[in-house]
């Protein structure tokens, strides 16, 4: 009887601990990021034509203050390179790609040229969010909830805003 009671209590406590830890882990993080381990900042350079979108996306995260995102210089390593490519038919606006050296943020000219300024900016903010380790909040699933609440929703041209939302900022602060 004592052993059963002990086991029941142990299981109960373990479940409580797991429940609490699941709550804490509900943020959406990637494992890699583009932040320089030594400097704690992201140094970038660019070969993209979408200057307005790039500057907007960078400024939205830079202003949160914990990870400076600044243009690289001759004596700093490059952490992210902004580039363009053309892949018509793929339905992808852009992507973030981790690398051994500088990571890539690549914009697909096929769609960036067709979408509104708001969507271009949303796409850049989304990709810089990945560079800061933020993941898609709904994973690979459609979610009306996340479409209205996160710039990291997997279709950034589907969201009606271009800046990080409260959830995104909380995720950012949870990491940095």
């Amino acid at each position: 009887m004592g052993a059963k009671s002990f086991l029941a209590k142990t299981v109960l406590v373990a479940q409580l601990v797991l429940l609490l830890s699941v709550g804490a882990a509900s943020a959406h993080y990637l494992i890699p990021d583009s932040v320089n381990d030594e400097s704690g900042e992201i140094r970038w350079k660019e070969y993209t034509r979408y200057d307005d979108a790039r500057n907007y996306g960078i400024s939205q995260w830079h202003r949160l203050g914990r990870v400076p995102i600044v243009r690289d210089s001759a004596n700093t390593p490059t952490d992210v390179v902004f580039r363009d490519f053309r892949d018509c038919g793929s339905g992808t606006v852009g992507y973030w790609q981790p690398n051994a050296g500088a990571d890539f943020i690549n914009f697909n000219t096929c769609y960036m040229n067709k979408v509104s300024t708001l969507s271009k900016r949303a796409s850049a903010t989304h990709e810089v969010g990945h560079a800061l380790r933020l993941a898609h909040p709904s994973g690979s699933r459609k979610s009306e909830r996340w479409r209205k609440r996160s710039i990291m929703y997997y279709c950034s041209t589907c969201v009606p805003f271009s800046a990080p939302r409260t959830h995104d900022k909380n995720d950012y602060r949870g990491i940095w």
Partner: protein, 196 residues
């Protein structure tokens, strides 16, 4: 006294069990990334940002020029998409010839070239995948949601991995064809909101 000592010992044991369990859980949770990390240099998954709702079949089919069931014949190319800037780097893409078995949208002939984003990245000596989408293999049967690229002359898979569904059985094929036939009848054309 013995009773108190026994209770304390059980409490300590319970705490130890919970602590070990929690640590194990935390370690396992940390080792389950949402995306493949670059570590190891073997395979890297890119985090894609879509221009449409990729899990909405009506939007997916509306975006596509051709939807069909096909069988992969062989790899026929590895022509990447050049990136702007110096270095000559490309977004890896791999092309396959695919025998068309059944048209769902459009009317393709016997065999077409399908381009899949992903493949070998020579500049980093590794393989690149889009959101975990493995490269096609000869002999595989799949449902392909594609968009014809007139400049390249091939059919690009839309919104990977949602636009190339591997078919493992006849019943799965029947279900998929029915689902995408329904989506075709209710398809939503791709009309991005441009600046006015």
């Amino acid at each position: 006294m013995t009773l108190v000592r026994g209770t304390t010992a059980r409490t300590l044991l319970a705490l130890a069990v919970v602590t070990v369990g929690f640590v194990a859980y935390a370690v396992l949770a940390r080792e389950t990334p949402e995306t493949g990390a670059a570590g190891g240099g073997e395979v890297v998954d890119v985090e894609v940002n879509y221009a449409l709702e990729p899990t909405d079949e009506e939007q997916l089919v509306g975006f596509a020029t051709n939807v069909f069931v096909g069988r992969v014949v062989e790899k026929v190319g590895a022509e990447g998409a050049p990136l702007s800037g110096p270095g000559g780097e490309v977004v890896p893409r791999t092309q396959f010839s695919v025998a068309v078995l059944e048209n769902i949208k459009g009317d393709l002939g016997d065999e077409v070239t399908v381009s899949q984003t992903g493949g070998y990245d020579g500049s980093e000596d590794r393989r690149v995948r889009v959101e975990g989408d493995p490269l096609l293999r000869p002999g595989q049967q799949g449902l392909f949601v594609t968009s014809h690229d007139e400049r390249e002359g091939w059919y690009t898979i839309v919104a990977q991995p949602f636009g190339d569904v591997r078919i493992e059985s006849e019943s799965q094929r029947t279900d998929l064809v029915e689902k995408f036939e329904r989506a075709r009848r209710a398809q939503v054309p791709f009309e991005p909101a441009a600046d006015r």
